[in-house]
Symmetry: C2
DNA sequence: GTGAAAGCGCTAACAA
DNA sequence: TTGTTAGCGCTTTCAC
């Protein structure tokens, strides 16, 4: 490895001057600077970030912890973060927790040793506890919140998105609307559930516990929950299903197919989070779409600006709007007409 | 941050002893070790990896560069790598190049500054050039190869997989088989194209250039290519399509739908790389499936063992078998019968 | 505007 | 078995 010292010798200056020429060019006379940059180029010098970070006691790196890279939603989040980080010359340490608090804890510990400047995290259900261990670097939570105090959050309007979806079903004439809700120790699930209740309440439809089933956000959970919901006696069985995340929606749709139930004639379905699969499956799925990439990008930008400017400048929490996309998987209970293919923003 | 020195004071030993107690426990008397570990625990000590790496002139980190995190294939690869790395206590620096050689170059440079122990890369078309800049750390190429000498590779049997797919179409009676091939400066595309030719050759079917269209691996490229292929005059138009990667397959299928052509009655389609979308779309897609997760995991293990043991021990290149999965998107040209739903391994 | 020197937190000779 | 010491490559006072 070619070091600062090599460049210094080559340019006939001290290491201090080389360091300045590279990091604070204005502190060095133009001629010297030129000579140094030239030397650096010739030698193919690349600063050793470890040494630099050690000395400065802080590195130009960020930690990114997500829960499921195989979920396109999270992959998109990661890309948004990555792009924003790269734009500002930050490098990201990447971890995947599989929704497992232990893995999250380990990731946090490992990360600690690398002195990242900040942390972006999709918190696991035990994140609040895990995050206590971490020294007080700036943290931004994405997609959901652990409730840890002093942490910024960037999320979508889950309750609003869910409410719009359920209202749509109600407008179509549905009264028995089931929900596959997700784990209630995760904020998104709680909020979407909340939106579901609000919509029912607003329409004067009583909330029925037996129509609401939890799941662990995986495809198989969605399948099981749908199977359970749809095997209720005919009179009790929901005529529409609102599913709280994308993976579970896949499972639910597969379950419906297994049972030979027709969508939307016999059952309407709305999913949360759009995906290629949702858009191209048959019938195309009506969904609450999220600005996923923006979520990641914005979260990272929020973090980075909180680093440069004084912390106070920025909002502590951001909510992005969802978009409701009506496609073909929803229709009146009798199956009389199809969806209209329109889109609408939840708020303006 | 609590440092080694803090622990040393607390345990009444020198920093050297603390360092040993942590990194080479057997070099320290049991009693002392206990005392030190206890102190470390009490103080919540976490080693500063930057200092450690600087001193050892090598860090317990790996670089991972992939070309498209939004492609589930690559996301799965990343997860495999990640899991293997974590198992061995390595941390990964993650980069996404979007297939852009410039981004790759930057990623490589940034990485250099962090002194990773090794590099895992899905090489861009210009990787061979870019990799020259990098000091000689161990490198493993995943999925495809740049042809850089001295680099290990972990790939699937692309030619074999493609050949099996095309043979299947030939057996069904197809003679005009189109291929959407991908960029020919990427090894996977070349190899799959090779397999396609071999299958035709073996069956005595002449290779026709106008039936083979390149694409840039994106959905839209697949769509355009399919549109072009299917707008050939009736007599020239292929009765079957073999598409060289998953994203382009999506585009091709969408194009076919746009044109109102029925699959498999009027056109058979085989894709390369399985996905949830392929499995659940209608009709379910016949594909050459890849052991994607294993590819990533194995690539990382290969890299890591080459680090610990002497380099010589391991094979320089690994090929994994693909699996051919017949589903519903292929049938005889006339559309007389459906696929059989069987699976078969390409080799045994 | 530039250089000398100290030191970030750790590990690895070398001594004791 | 443990301590002393030097130094990884860089940045940053403090002099000049």
């Amino acid at each position: 490895m070619v070091s600062l010292e090599d460049v210094a010798k080559h340019a006939q200056v001290s290491t201090a001057t080389v360091s300045r020429a590279l990091s604070r060019p204005e502190m060095v006379a133009e001629a010297t600077r030129e000579r140094i940059l030239q030397a650096a180029r010739e030698l193919g010098y690349q600063p050793n970030q470890l040494a630099r970070s050690l000395r400065q006691r802080s590195s130009r790196t960020l930690g990114l912890i997500i829960t499921d890279i195989l979920n396109p939603f999270h992959a998109t989040l990661a890309k948004g973060v990555q792009d924003a980080a790269e734009k500002r010359d930050y490098t990201v340490f990447f971890f995947n927790t599989d929704e497992d608090p232990e893995k999250e804890k380990r990731a946090l510990n490992v990360l600690r040793g690398h002195l990242p400047r900040g942390l972006l995290i999709v918190p696991s259900p035990k994140a609040r506890e895990n995050l206590k261990q971490v020294p007080k670097i700036p943290i931004v939570e994405l997609d959901r919140t652990s409730g840890t105090p002093g942490v910024r959050t960037v999320m979508v309007d889950n309750a609003g998105g869910a409410k719009t979806a359920v209202q749509h079903l109600i407008e179509l004439g549905h009264r028995r609307i089931g929900m596959i809700v997700g784990r209630l120790d995760i904020s998104t699930a709680v909020e979407r559930h909340q939106g579901y209740r609000e919509a029912l309440l607003a329409a004067g439809i009583p909330y029925r516990e037996e129509l609401v089933l939890p799941g662990n956000h995986r495809e198989e959970d969605g399948r099981q929950a749908a199977l359970a919901l749809l095997s209720l006696p005919k009179e009790e069985r929901p005529t529409a299903l609102f599913v709280g995340n994308n993976e579970m929606t896949v499972g639910a749709v597969l379950a419906v197919r297994e049972l030979g139930i027709r969508i939307p004639e016999e059952l309407s379905i709305v999913g949360f989070d759009d995906s290629r699969w949702a858009a191209t499956m048959h019938p195309a799925l009506t969904v609450v779409a999220q600005p996923t990439y923006e979520l990641g990008f914005l979260a990272c930008e929020t973090l980075l600006s909180s680093l440069s400017r004084g912390q106070a400048a920025l909002p502590t929490s951001i909510r992005l709007d969802t978009t409701f996309i009506v496609r073909e998987s929803t229709a009146p209970p009798g199956g009389l007409s199809k969806g209209l293919g329109k889109q609408r923003r939840n708020r303006h």
